[in-house]
């Protein structure tokens, strides 16, 4: 816009930029939010409401279900299935700890030592996603097969004696035992641990390591006092991303476990699809969600990550 001095005065041209945002302008953010909100309404809030109402219904498939505010379903679900609840927390917790122990060194290596191999290693971390979850889990059936080399080696090294004594395996078998389920969970959720860990480690300024060394910290002290505390955001998000889906998972327990390793996910699946007891299935889902919410809240409070920059 170039103004020519002395030009005859014309009707003031509208200056769209300078005009205070009108009603339409003020609504723009809401228009942008709309698709997401609609999606959440249709695919999250409505199913939730539907499930909530299902969980307090009574009846049968033949006679139909009716909302009777039957909260006893929740109590019965806890009374009947607390072992599966406990098992879910235990297996998912073990898998999370294993993921952390396996994933942290790997993420550390990729972030600080991999050099030009960094991107290759990152691709390898997510490479398993190129095949289906189901196929990968089925592959573990072969890996852990009774006559396979893994079980043979573990037996020869007397590892199975120890794990059997701990109740994690049964005799010479690994398949259809808690160990197999935990192995499957660990394998399937490992990338969800490694990626956030890598991201938070990679963000750490290398000069902080030098500064710690300069201030008399041995390499192990540098790790404990500087690297690990600074990677806490990654540890917290990694453990959450592993623990939450693992505790609701049923595929691993289904394919690699037995009736003695059923997790809460398996119960929900059976109730919904085989027994067709929808209220119990819905109540179990809500109980799992509540349990996870309580545990996660407690965990985040304890880890104090809000204190980090």
């Amino acid at each position: 816009m170039t103004a020519v001095a002395g030009a005859p005065p014309e009707a003031p041209a509208p200056a769209p930029r300078k005009r205070p945002p009108g009603r339409r302008g003020r609504l723009v953010p809401y228009w942008l939010l709309l698709p997401g909100i609609l999606w959440l309404l249709v695919f999250f809030v409505m199913p939730m409401v539907y499930q909530a109402s299902t969980s307090v219904q009574t009846g049968s498939l033949e006679e139909g279900f009716e909302v009777t505010w039957h909260f006893r379903t929740y109590w019965d679900a806890v009374a009947d299935y607390w072992p599966q609840f406990l098992r879910s927390v235990l297996y998912a917790g073990s898998a999370t700890v294993l993921c952390l122990l396996l994933g942290y060194p790997l993420a550390y290596l990729i972030a600080f030592r991999a050099g030009r191999w960094r991107n290759v290693l990152l691709v390898l971390v997510i490479a398993p996603f190129f095949t289906s979850f189901l196929i990968r889990t089925l592959a573990w059936k072969t890996i852990l097969a009774d006559s396979g080399p893994v079980v043979g080696a573990l037996g020869a090294l007397h590892v199975l004696d120890v794990t059997s004594w701990l109740g994690m395996t049964a005799g010479d078998r690994v398949l259809a035992t808690p160990l197999a389920v935990v192995c499957g969970l660990t394998y399937n959720f490992l990338p969800f641990m490694i990626l956030p860990l890598y991201t938070s480690l990679e963000r750490i300024d290398g000069r902080l390591h030098e500064a710690a060394g300069d201030l008399y910290a041995t390499p192990s002290e540098t790790f404990r006092k500087v690297t690990f505390p600074l990677s806490m955001p990654g540890v917290v998000s990694g453990t959450l991303l592993t623990f939450i889906p693992a505790s609701g998972d049923y595929v691993n327990a289904d394919l690699l476990g037995s009736t003695d390793t059923r997790m809460i996910g398996n119960v929900v699946q059976t109730q919904f699809l085989r027994i067709l007891d929808y209220p119990t299935a819905a109540a179990l889902s809500f109980l799992l969600m509540a349990a996870i919410l309580v545990m996660v809240t407690f965990y985040i409070r304890r880890s104090g990550t809000e204190d980090l920059v």
């Binding site: 902080l208 008399y216 910290a217 041995t218």
Partner: protein, 387 residues
Amino acid sequence: MTTDRGGDVRLSGISKTYGSFTAVHPLDLTVPQGSFFALLGASGCGKTTTLRMIAGLEEPTAGTVSLGGRDVTALPPYKRPVNTVFQSYALFPHLDVFENVAFGLRRRGIKSVKKQVGEMLDLVQLGEQARRKPHQLSGGQQQRVAVARALINHPEVLLLDEPLGALDLKLRRQMQLELKRIQTEVGITFVHVTHDQEEAMTMADTVAVMNAGRVEQLGAPADLYENPRTTFVANFLGTSNLIEAKVETASGDDLVVEAAGQRLTLPAARCAAPAAAGGAVLLGVRPEKISLTPADDADRVPAGRNRVTGRITAGSFLGVSTQYVVDCPACPEFEVYVQNIDRDPRLVPGAEVVLHWDPAHSFGLDAAQDIDAGVETAGADEEVAAR
């Protein structure tokens, strides 16, 4: 370990190569205990690498580092009685100011740190900020935390890697004086790396000018400024007018040289190059040593002074002084700084002038060097600093 006030930092034949690139050529350097020593040079000259080799953060390709007579070449950083103030401070973001400062003490197993940390924070005037996190502090405050964090360990040597580079000019001046005050107060050896020649000259007792992995010259700031021994030092440290000249007579205390038909004299003692009659030499003189007289008054110039004639091409008024650029046959861009005591209205661009100075203010350099060495590097570096 740190109670032993051993003394000197001694680098013997130390060098560093990365593949085929030599960052530091074999170097011998001794920093006396208690001195404020500056390594000055443009970026990429090897000064930071040298500093990091003293800290143990970089392993020398050859040579040894010894502190107070003890060879520390093989020691990892955490075993050396040396602390560093890093260029970007490298404060621990998850720890507050108090814990940052206490870090070194705690690593050495000292339990009661409260009193020491308190005293150190008072020394750097940060007592009020003890419970703040680094990101809540200003640049100058962060810089002081970095100094306190290093000094509290009473290292034998404190290494400073361009610690003022991130601060604005005014704050930098203030911190220069403050660092100098702290150094005088605690008496620890400071080794300071900087590309800012003014900073080096303000703070250090001894300055080593580095160029392309070598120490060009080492000495007290005034000595380096007055008696540069290479064109790089002459140009990098302040400004020098260098005139290509031919030696006429080289007998006695003075050298008589000839440049563009004019006869100039310089003290033989201030000539860094061997000069024989008929040989070439570079005659240098600093811009502030020169007086300007309009050509009309040429006969009023006292006898015995070196004189050169020329025409003013530019003049810029800077308040305290006026900087002129004079085109002379001997030197096309002769720089002259004239103090603004009585300004002569005839000294304007286009005016014919006589430049004259005391022959004792001239110095001589080896003519077989790049006459512009250090000019561009200094300019490029200022650009980097300004960005």
